[in-house]
Subunit: 226 residues, 4 copies
Amino acid sequence: MKLEFPILVINFKAYPQSSGKNALRLAKVAEKVSKELGASIAVAPQITDLYLVASSVEIPVFSQHCDPYPPGAYTGWITLEAIKDAGAIGTIINHSEHRLRLDVIDEIIKRAKDLNMITLVCTNTPEVSAAAAAMNPDIIAIEPPELIGTGIPVSKAKPEIVTSTVDLVRRINREVKILTGAGITSGEDVEAALKLGTEGVLVASGIVKAKDWEKAIIELAKPLVR
Amino acid sequence: MKLEFPILVINFKAYPQSSGKNALRLAKVAEKVSKELGASIAVAPQITDLYLVASSVEIPVFSQHCDPYPPGAYTGWITLEAIKDAGAIGTIINHSEHRLRLDVIDEIIKRAKDLNMITLVCTNTPEVSAAAAAMNPDIIAIEPPELIGTGIPVSKAKPEIVTSTVDLVRRINREVKILTGAGITSGEDVEAALKLGTEGVLVASGIVKAKDWEKAIIELAKPLVR
Amino acid sequence: MKLEFPILVINFKAYPQSSGKNALRLAKVAEKVSKELGASIAVAPQITDLYLVASSVEIPVFSQHCDPYPPGAYTGWITLEAIKDAGAIGTIINHSEHRLRLDVIDEIIKRAKDLNMITLVCTNTPEVSAAAAAMNPDIIAIEPPELIGTGIPVSKAKPEIVTSTVDLVRRINREVKILTGAGITSGEDVEAALKLGTEGVLVASGIVKAKDWEKAIIELAKPLVR
Amino acid sequence: MKLEFPILVINFKAYPQSSGKNALRLAKVAEKVSKELGASIAVAPQITDLYLVASSVEIPVFSQHCDPYPPGAYTGWITLEAIKDAGAIGTIINHSEHRLRLDVIDEIIKRAKDLNMITLVCTNTPEVSAAAAAMNPDIIAIEPPELIGTGIPVSKAKPEIVTSTVDLVRRINREVKILTGAGITSGEDVEAALKLGTEGVLVASGIVKAKDWEKAIIELAKPLVR
């Protein structure tokens, strides 16, 4: 499955609103909007919900995390092979709620390439974004942690973080896609993210906690379709 | 679902032999033997396989691990609620391949009780077993890490670790069940585990890597039926 | 050096007020009060200050932390041998700001015994205290993390946590000493800690951030002398 | 204190041969050779020995590690301020025996710059080296972990790791100094490291475990003086 950009990636986190059967419902709504608008939308449900969601929708499914270990005696760890088996095309790693060691990120990116899987590395500063880019992941999402879940978009509060990220990353790596995350709740925020030079957004509470999922997803997905 | 003792708990780890569709096959074999022998057998597939396995078999299903966090903004972490939703009746924690902080173990045990879920805490020494017992989990499995995966059963190599564990744990907690783990591959090993005062075994490679799963499970489950 | 109880243990944390030369000054004041009152007082300066402090005062000096590794290829880790060499008689471990794995605590306690060093394990709940006691450290300090640094003493806010801790610990281990921590700023708080059945207090900001160290230490040490 | 390149950095690790009084002796030998040969040599003793060593020698002293936290309520953690107070001019971070999170490395490098301290980031692959370079530390040391302590120099076993590192790092950052580490025991190894485009070596067991420290240091320092 090929990802298209610009893209809206929806992180379900471990919110009760987007767990179990709710994960399936939310993924179905995202799929519906994706088809109707012709917008590129991917979903990242909890690891326990990966199989159920991935076997029920036709939009790309990401894991929220994975560990660097290969198949073997690794009780309780999440391998890339396991999430691939469950139907994920790739994985978010290093989310601000789940930071990883530098060498582990390198290891996961390399293992993912061997397995033909996509890596989306979350970052918190322009320098960390540049560092991530140097390890050749497929996607970077710049998310200043202090804005996550606030409803204050980084594109408004700290646009220079996004522009510096784009600038530093592009000097190192021209292939990696860059997303904007943290605090995104409106179509205007998505437009700002695109104007600042990024190719999509990573959103969690802005959609998961919305009263009307369909409306919220349409709002954020529309600016992606030009 | 009530667990019956003595019990055989099969840890699938992240072995390729017991992942994805293989997880389902192995769980089905375990279920078959459990029914035919009337033996208490539980399975602990990978977290990504929990839903598929738990919705397909009628024997108890454990997670291999869980994190202490409640539902919410915890990207990529495994909540007790998520594994319960997926069909697990409880979880292994603190496996030698996945050790946890002391305070985190306490937190998980307390959250599990609130959610009516079973906790199986792995331990490596009699003192750590006693410490685990002091936090009132449902089950403890004593597994000297140096014997895991060796085929050398603790009951033969270091029976005093098991008897000391039983002794220390019983002074603190008369309710917790104790299992023997590490290196178990034969019915004789299981009998030794029962004679040393424990109420079952935790087995991984001894079954997962066996050429004939059914034969291997029958071998280890038979001594449980008296 | 033998520790005497009841005791006041002063945790310098990484406060600037108690670092470097300030660490030496604070330790000297603690030593002075200890001698003048005949009260048992120990200090726990930062690891970088251990040598300077321990070679300058005659009261017991603890490390604030140590790692489980033995001497060898362990770049940047703190061995028990290193803190002993630096003059510490023992170490605090598992402070709420520095939690450790269950098996690591067991390992450190055993290594410390072999090296004739004292272990002081911080705990957050009665059950965790009981678990710590089961591993036979020399001292436990019960400190509900939500009260640390607040000036609200646990003996007032949640006396039942202290009494439950004493009760559970005593069923398991009659030798281990128990201290009360978190929120202690007055002699009254220390008296309450002793009345609830503990044998001293672990204090940080209550002394380190006091304007007059000598006065603050006298206030907390006086109730220890009967 | 300004560092001069090419440089020999000696990591004392937690070896008993280089702890406590031995740390002081080894540092004195390094200082002697540095002065006699006019070679740039720095030492990285254990954190507990930093003060004693730094106050006794006039060559640059590094810490083996530090944590990202500022002064404050961080019991048992090692702040940059604490190691600076103890006399270190900088710190090794992310050693293969002590890996750090990506965001933590960025944070430490930024805090170090504010404090006018030097950062030496250990790396294991060309990509991780490039990532480290993107965060603008002062020095990178490429050390394939599988060669550490073997006596097999990376310059012989895997010279392409060093040349790829130099190549990738230089595209991103022209200022950062690059050292070669792992398996270095002879002057020839040091010459190879310089020829491959790096500006010095990071050595531990090759010196610490040598029977004659002075001879071992002279052997490795001579090629640095041209």
